[in-house]
Symmetry: C2
Subunit: 597 residues, 2 copies
């Protein structure tokens, strides 16, 4: 049986010590954000995740969801846990007070989400998608729709879904076939089949609100003819009570590699009543409001699962007795030394710890920028924060999930054969984590978004939101003695990033394949540089506290930074070389030479 | 539904064109090894894998093995397939003719095994372990035991297992507790519990022969007090017929992440009758005969699963229509372009193709050296070949499985969301492949074996079996025009390998943690250099044939080599940097600083 401990101390370090609550306090409504409030939320959400969600993780995987006659039964205990999360308000922390939410910063949502997904990612998808749907409707819906639907979404009585994918189109939404025909009474009749719909059908809420993209009659072909509709499972009457069943049915659920407690549905819309959200033919842009938040969420999911996997690998490495330290017996009174004495096991543990703490810094940095972009009083601050969020969203999504998945595999490896059997729960983390590299846009698409869209946007303006502070930091700390061992390495890695950015941006103008070929390596190179910058900042925070009572924590921060710089940051050199080699070997390779031979 | 095509053409390239059959023909009994024989075997084994084993792969995963009252039922169809593989002789290609085998080179076994494991790795374990057990008994057993057991093993009537692991000891076999007490009649009574026993119980054969390591009464503690015993499920009577049931019982089977068609058993020995194999207290050395062959096998398993995963990703990439090429529409008559036009998809496909073909060259190189080490008439040739096999065994095991697993994940990624659902079979490849990084010694142990044992052995003699031919090749081809773009890169990577070898060997003398800390990176660096060397050789073979009727194949070889050199070989630079950073960050890191926080 695995275990879970909410990473309160480290989250608190990042929020309060590294970035500082004042970042949030300065924003609109920020006066509420006190130290005590943050502590209370972290502690309570952590406890809830440890005690309520986590015990359902393995059983939920084993039992999975059951489909019968259009209905879906979630695993035992999910309903009670759902009621409990709704009552506690953890699922609506950042929803506006106007609609019954707590109006707290997005950042708090992010920390809650990491813990929820660590404890039970399959469960976490149910409230998670509702949060995305809430954001979509609250920003783009008419007042009428908002009044009718938002309060019950915040209360958790009604849940939300995103219905994008069809069997023949995932990435390429321009091909979608689902149709919308005006019903003459202000609404539309929606017809078509959507697949891979998370939470498309389940028994947790009394109503399910599907946010469906479809092509209205007579709309242009391609991506510019797509509109967004809200299609409730049950029609909501004028008085807010539930009316008749809408013509939307769950045809089946998928048998998946993991997240088995989450129902992934095939949904048939057969002239179902739907309400236009936003303007006609502007559905894709609207959907991206939700999608971008979801992408940050998915990064966080990968992070959460990696963290719980690490925790279990760590405790196994401390307990499992096997072999003796290479430099001589460490625990003569035991039958063997715990495997944490072995350098290769330490390498695995430190790789996990380092990336997980790296990624937490990255995720919360961007989360706070989301809050700044939405709530700062200063339009310039809002703008720069928004630019940074645009730039970093694909990085958070893809890097946290690529790395997150790798970390679950390292954690499994620490267990040896015991990791491969279901009992210890390690293989479930691997299976659950794997989806995060795929959904809400595969990581290849994220990389293309970063390099093809975000890099050139507004003549590089988004990039400046990152390059500028890093450049300033490097210049400002060239002679900071505490950072002497780090700064030359940071400057070198940053130089590599600048050089590939300039090179590929230029080459890409005449040959877009240069961008496509470099994109994935570029995203990883970028992320490593970003993380190196954050570790240098973390060292500055930790250094004065190494002799405090929390010496293990703070000295650990510095030593972890050192491990990152010495052992992981060198990856930037091979990524640099691979990117600079260009696209030719890829693009000139003949299709018939791929085989199979 | 996935598909499988045996990679006959590429295997044939490696065997016949790259290395040449004359390598095998020169060996004892090599006159039989004709072109036609090889073709016939490749074709027939390939067909068998495609038509008999592969159709049982997905159903076997779904159904799994069933345990009931000490008996294990394998999935539907396994029994018939097993009978069929036994009748065809594919499972005993390399067993000696003296015992009824075909006496063919180990190399042929290796190619058969790659295909068998690609088609159905879970099934492949049943005959695979018998082959290892056969090797063990045929080399170390008494004449009496050999006569009694080997013929029926070769016939496939009786199968074999390796019983090493106990709940508290896997890597550290010195801790094992299973006991052997002389029964006064020349045999022993074996008592203890073994776990993770592949094929420990099943319904495919009439008898199961367990090769069990145990501590004989009064034996020294630790690894030097371990002996090897043959414990049959049914006692074999003097006339060779089956007698009474031995006191060995399957207590349960594991629920695993993958290879669900393979029964992984907990075995209870309760005073079971066992026969000593080899000398008392020399069991671990004996077991390593089997283990080393098994390690090469496991590398091959990782390779096989990667290959089938690649094939399916490739055909999906050619069929799936999504988006348009970045440089303009490629297939205007289709609703969208096939995703193979996208640079990032090509990157994924080429990465898979390149590593898979790399690893096939590596595996077959070492396989042929195994044959040379066993069958050459020249003792010096035997010695050098044996040295190379010792050196490369951990590399084949760990590199082919680390890379193999990564390739299954890339293949899944090409499918997007469709890769995550069970239907397409891609997620099964990931789950099945994952065990190969663990069993027969985790890949961390392989790395330690390479650096801690093989590197320093006989003052570096094993290393010379690799360094010498590579050095010669580099010197001999400095001015070969066909290799102009490759040789400087090969020389550079080789230089890095030499430098880290010298550095760590020296540092390791005073501080063995330096070896432990570098080992995994070193193994990967070593493998990349070895593969670079083999690609350069492959280019020399392919270059004169690029204008033949098989231009797609040969030009593809050269372009694949180019991709390897430009995009994958640069990894050696970051591995080099990480290794040279030493062990300090790992070893000085305080245990209490690992958290969890």
């Amino acid at each position: 049986m695995p275990s879970y401990k909410a990473p309160i101390r480290d989250i608190s370090f990042v929020l309060k010590e590294l970035y500082g609550l004042e970042v949030l306090q300065k924003l609109k409504g920020g006066s509420e954000i006190t130290d005590d409030l943050i502590d209370a939320i972290l502690t309570e959400v952590g406890r809830f995740c440890e005690n309520v969600l986590f015990p359902l993780n393995q059983t939920g995987d084993k039992e999975g969801c059951r489909y019968e006659n259009g209905e879906v039964r979630t695993p035992k205990g999910f309903k009670e846990a759902y009621n409990s999360i709704v009552e506690s308000g953890w699922a609506s922390l950042s929803c506006e007070t106007e609609w019954g939410g707590q109006g707290l910063p997005h950042t708090l949502n992010t920390v809650a989400e990491e813990m929820i997904c660590a404890a039970n990612i399959a469960f976490g998808l149910y409230p998670g998608l509702t949060r995305g749907a809430y954001a979509l409707l609250s920003r783009h819906g008419s007042e009428e729709l908002k009044k009718k639907f938002l309060p019950n979404m915040v209360k958790g009585k009604w849940s939300g879904t995103m219905c994008l994918t069809e069997a023949h189109c995932g990435t390429d939404l321009g091909m979608l076939r689902t149709k919308a025909v005006p019903d003459g009474a202000g609404a539309y009749k929606i017809s078509g089949t959507k697949i891979f719909i998370s939470s498309g059908e389940h028994d947790l809420t009394e109503n399910i609100l599907h946010f469906v993209i479809a092509r209205a009659e007579g709309a242009p072909a391609g991506i510019k003819g797509i509109s967004l509709f809200l299609v409730p499972k049950f029609i909501v009457k004028g008085d807010g009570s539930l009316g008749e069943r809408n013509n939307v049915q769950c045809a089946s659920i998928e048998h998946k590699m993991g997240i088995k407690g989450s129902a992934t549905a095939v949904m048939n819309f057969d002239g179902a009543e739907g309400y236009l959200v936003g303007e006609l033919n502007e559905g894709v842009n609207k959907m991206f409001t939700m999608m971008n938040l979801e992408r940050l969420s998915v990064g966080n999911q990968g992070q959460g699962v990696a963290d719980i996997a690490y925790q279990n690998a760590l405790s196994y490495a401390k307990e499992r007795l096997q072999g003796r330290a290479l430099t001589g017996v460490k625990f003569p009174d035991k039958a063997a030394d715990p495997i944490i004495v072995h350098p290769d096991v330490r390498r695995m543990l430190l790789t996990m710890k380092t990336y997980i703490e790296s990624n937490r810094m990255l995720a919360l940095w961007v989360a706070m920028e989301v809050d700044k972009s939405e709530r700062s009083e200063d339009p310039e601050v809002r703008q720069i924060a928004d630019d940074l969020v645009h730039l970093m969203t694909p990085i958070v999504k893809a890097f946290l999930t690529d790395v997150g998945f790798d970390m679950t595999n390292i954690a499994l490896q620490v267990f040896g054969g015991h990791g491969y059997i279901q009992e210890h729960g390690m293989e479930q983390f691997v299976r659950d984590s794997r989806i995060t590299q795929i959904y809400e846009g595969t990581n290849g698409i994220q990389a293309l978004d970063l390099m093809g869209r975000k890099m050139p946007a507004h003549f590089g303006r988004y990039l400046r939101a990152f390059f500028h502070p890093v450049q300033q930091f490097i210049e400002g700390h060239q002679n900071t003695p505490e950072l002497a061992e780090f700064m030359p390495l940071l400057a070198k890695a940053f130089g590599r990033l600048q050089q590939v950015t300039a090179t590929i941006a230029q080459k890409g103008m005449s040959n877009p394949n240069e961008i496509g070929a470099a994109a994935t390596d570029y995203l990883h190179l970028f992320a490593h540089v970003a993380v190196a910058y954050l570790w240098a900042r973390a060292v500055l925070v930790a250094m004065p506290k190494v002799n405090s009572t929390e010496s293990a924590f703070y000295q650990g921060k510095i030593d972890t930074a050192r491990f990152f710089y010495q052992k992981l940051l060198p990856k930037t050199s091979s990524l640099f070389a691979s990117i600079m080699a260009g696209s030719e070997t890829l693009m000139k390779f003949k299709d018939e030479s791929f085989g199979p031979f």
